[in-house]
């Protein structure tokens, strides 16, 4: 059962990621990224992370991707024009990607005894997670809320400034 679910959603994940690369219209890429994120949420659930699965759906597949699709529609982004890209990307980038993937794959496949994930494995409950989050890690948690507040202010300031500059004629 675990095996079937893993292959189903890992396949969906990879298909979505490859589709993201192949599509030329940004809205299609955004929709395939939503597929990737939702199937990742199922994989988190298979690994026993119930809170993160919910947060993945709500925060990533929900909030962040709505923001993306909203910006795509707001800016009326059309098809991208395919160009060859920079020479640095061709000569340095792709060999580096291949090297990183090969290195990671060999290290992962050589590491034996990492264990297995099965359906019977325990699930980390949200209670367990929140106990640590609100006792040992209370300060980082609160700092994160300040960070998000600053990000909101920064986003508003950045999105407004261009408008103000144009009307002020600076």
């Amino acid at each position: 059962m675990h095996l079937i679910l893993f292959f189903l959603f890992a396949g969906l994940c990879l298909a979505g990621a490859i589709n993201l690369l192949l599509q030329s219209h940004p809205i299609n890429s955004a929709l395939s990224l939503i597929v990737v994120m939702t199937s990742l949420a199922v994989l988190y659930l298979l690994l026993g992370a119930e809170f993160l699965a919910a947060a993945q759906v709500i925060v990533y597949a929900g909030a962040v991707m709505v923001l993306f699709t909203f910006v795509i529609m707001l800016l009326n982004a059309g098809r991208e024009e395919r160009t060859l890209g920079s020479r640095v990307a061709l000569t340095l980038g792709f060999p580096a990607v291949a090297a990183i993937l090969a290195l990671l794959a060999t290290v992962i496949l050589k590491a034996e005894g990492l264990g297995r994930a099965a359906m019977q494995d325990g699930i980390t409950s949200t209670e367990e997670l929140s106990k640590i989050l609100f006792t040992n890690l209370l300060l980082p948690f609160e700092v994160t809320s300040v960070l998000i507040l600053i990000a909101i202010l920064g986003a508003v300031a950045l999105a407004r400034r261009g408008d103000g500059e144009r009307t002020a004629g600076k």
């Binding site: 890429s29 925060v59 962040v64 910006v71 991208e80 890209g85 992962i108 325990g122 950045l158």
Partner: protein, 111 residues
């Protein structure tokens, strides 16, 4: 190793496969970052890389039966949400100044 994993198949999935999936997703994100010519799609590739790293964090949290890895993913998600908001605001500002989203034509830091 392959024969061993096939013979014990009814007992779930080896964690190596999850890590391998995470590595492949990360590489696809890097390739997208290199070949995509639209600013928003480039940004989406970065989100894909963040998600790939999150998957490996969750996998290791499962391996060690520890909650710390999951808490790390939680913080990564929060920072990524903030980053997405600011990044998209920057994209809007760039679009206002340049009226284009093609990365080939956005080659100056100055707006």
């Amino acid at each position: 190793m392959n024969s061993a994993s096939i013979s014990v198949v009814p007992h779930g999935v080896p964690l190596e496969w999850y890590l391998l999936l995470s590595a492949i997703l990360f590489s696809l994100g890097v390739i997208g970052f290199l070949i995509k010519r639209n600013l928003i799609t480039v940004f989406m590739s970065i989100e894909l890389m963040l998600n790939a790293v999150n998957l490996s964090f969750v996998t290791f949290a499962h391996q060690w039966h520890a909650v710390k890895g999951q808490i790390f993913v939680f913080f990564v998600m929060m920072v990524a949400a903030a980053e997405a908001a600011v990044g998209l605001a920057i994209i809007i500002a760039i679009f206002r100044a340049r009226a284009t989203l093609a990365v080939d034509r956005i080659d100056l830091m100055k707006l």
